[in-house]
Amino acid sequence: MSLPSDFAREISDHAPQPGFDAVVDRARIGRRRRRTTVASGLAAAVVAAGIGVAVGDLPGGDASPEPANPTRTSDVEERIDAALPEGVRHVLGRDEVQAWDVSAADGVVAAFWRACGELGDPCQHAWTLRDGDEVTGGLIDAQSPVVTVVPDGWLIDEQRGSTLLLTPDGEVEQVGSVGDGGTALGPDDAAVLTSDGSRLLRDGALVAMPEPPDRPVVGAAYVAPGGRLVAATSDLDGWGAQATDDGRTWEEPTDGPPETLNVQVAGSGDHVAVMFIGAGPDRSVGIEQVIVSSDAGRTWTTAHGLDTKGADRSLDPYGMTVAPDGTTYLTTETEGLVRIDPDGGARAVPVSSQATSVFAHGDDICVVAKAGAIDQIQCSSDGGTTWAPQPLPGLS
């Protein structure tokens, strides 16, 4: 096998070079992230690991670049729960493993793990559940599964024609599809995104998602109690948020910014949040706008205090959830955790400079935060003022 020695030069010849202003703008964003991290360290002792990461970025160190990412040690191996099946323990013990999605349903916390690396089977996936002191786990036989939290557990779309339901007691069931489902909307429906598009989960089966007549694309969606559907819908002109009570008659859409490329929707009770995501000229992925509703999408309030246009704009959103009290929480790479009150007021929450999954767990709000070689969960029962750590399911 011979590899082209001119490959790097060839790419270089194609690469467009932005002006140096783009570097300066990005550096400014980085400085703000560092300030947030230091402030969070002053505010809460639980973020010691986050500070450790940030200190490596501070000027004044030696001439060495940042060290490589922390590698897992035998300490991590010893933290893997012995009660887990051997295959799951193997996945959690791999150097490359990441908890890519963590959430809670019916009082049970689930972590979905991904470890990529082996040739021919480049990624291994596993799930672990923790219910009190009980820990269970299993493997997922898929390369790019997509997980959605539903009232009865977690829907796992294996992206190859099969869909599974993982229940809070650790049972895995096949989920069938029954076409259009017969009725437009049901009171116990849950909205899910699958590889085939947006669907409703009804009575353990996937049924078609209703579509507004003049907006043929339905993306992420949420079904409020009573069966009212709030969905991201789109036509050729762009994305918006749109609601329907029966799936047949749709209200007028609330338009999102024209730059929108993707929309996320989350809800709890009648509280709903819609995040419009776009891409900047420098290819950064940023939040264009967030709107929140306390009446299941009848009226909307645009979040304020969230920088969506300037050099310090919020970039790289990762997760979003709505707490039972109507507060929306989202995570971004630039700001960590951000809370948006029902009146639209947004502010960064000092918990960690690196936060990924965020989810409601009963009345608590929990976030997965960087903590050395492997992440940990931080939960707050007072709206983000104080935080208590707990390990990811499957680890001690």
Partner: protein, 180 residues
């Protein structure tokens, strides 16, 4: 801020600008093998320069600024997974356009194969064979001993040869991230 620190800060910014003009595109070329995606490489290199601005003392003290940037960029690629959840949804629309549309097919195939290699092997193969860096410099960039890098190179060459011989590669489910 004291006068000395201010002068040093200005010198740092000027130096980063100078190196940016001279090295940005070369670094993107080198990092593209590491990421398997030139757009991801652009992003990592841009982030490395931004960190150089914010770490100007460390950057100015570095014997080899380009090597400093390369190491930072490699580390950045290792944390990119954090953004992948939403990034994947939009990135294919972005990479489908503009700059890399006329890369030859064999380069597209090579990038697809690289994306399927384990990350550590991909880093070694990309920096040594594609970017033409000596093993010692690769070891510094990835933060591993030279012996480890050599072992990764050997395993990576075997794996890459098998992938490139695989006629089914065109069906790579990751192909949406191809620069075409």
């Amino acid at each position: 801020m004291g006068r000395w620190a201010m002068q040093r800060g200005n010198a740092g910014m000027e130096r980063v600008h100078e190196v940016y003009d001279a090295s940005y595109r070369r670094l993107v070329g080198q990092l593209t093998g590491v990421t398997g995606d030139p757009v991801e490489a652009e992003d990592a290199v841009m982030e490395a320069f931004a960190r150089a601005v914010n770490n100007s003392r460390s950057f100015l003290d570095a014997d080899n600024p380009e090597a400093w940037l390369r190491t930072v960029a490699v580390n950045v690629t290792r944390t990119r997974w954090r953004r992948s959840r939403f990034f994947r949804d939009v990135s294919h629309r972005l990479v489908a356009q503009e700059s890399y549309a006329d890369l030859p097919d064999d380069r597209i195939t090579l990038l697809a194969a690289l994306r399927r290699l384990p990350p550590a092997q991909r880093e070694a193969i990309a920096l040594h064979h594609l970017a033409d860096l000596p093993v010692a410099e690769v070891a510094r960039a990835v933060g591993s001993p030279e012996g480890t890098v050599k072992a990764r190179l050997a395993r990576g060459r075997t794996a890459l040869a098998a992938l490139l011989a695989d006629a089914d590669l065109q069906a790579d489910p990751e192909s949406e991230r191809s620069p075409r």
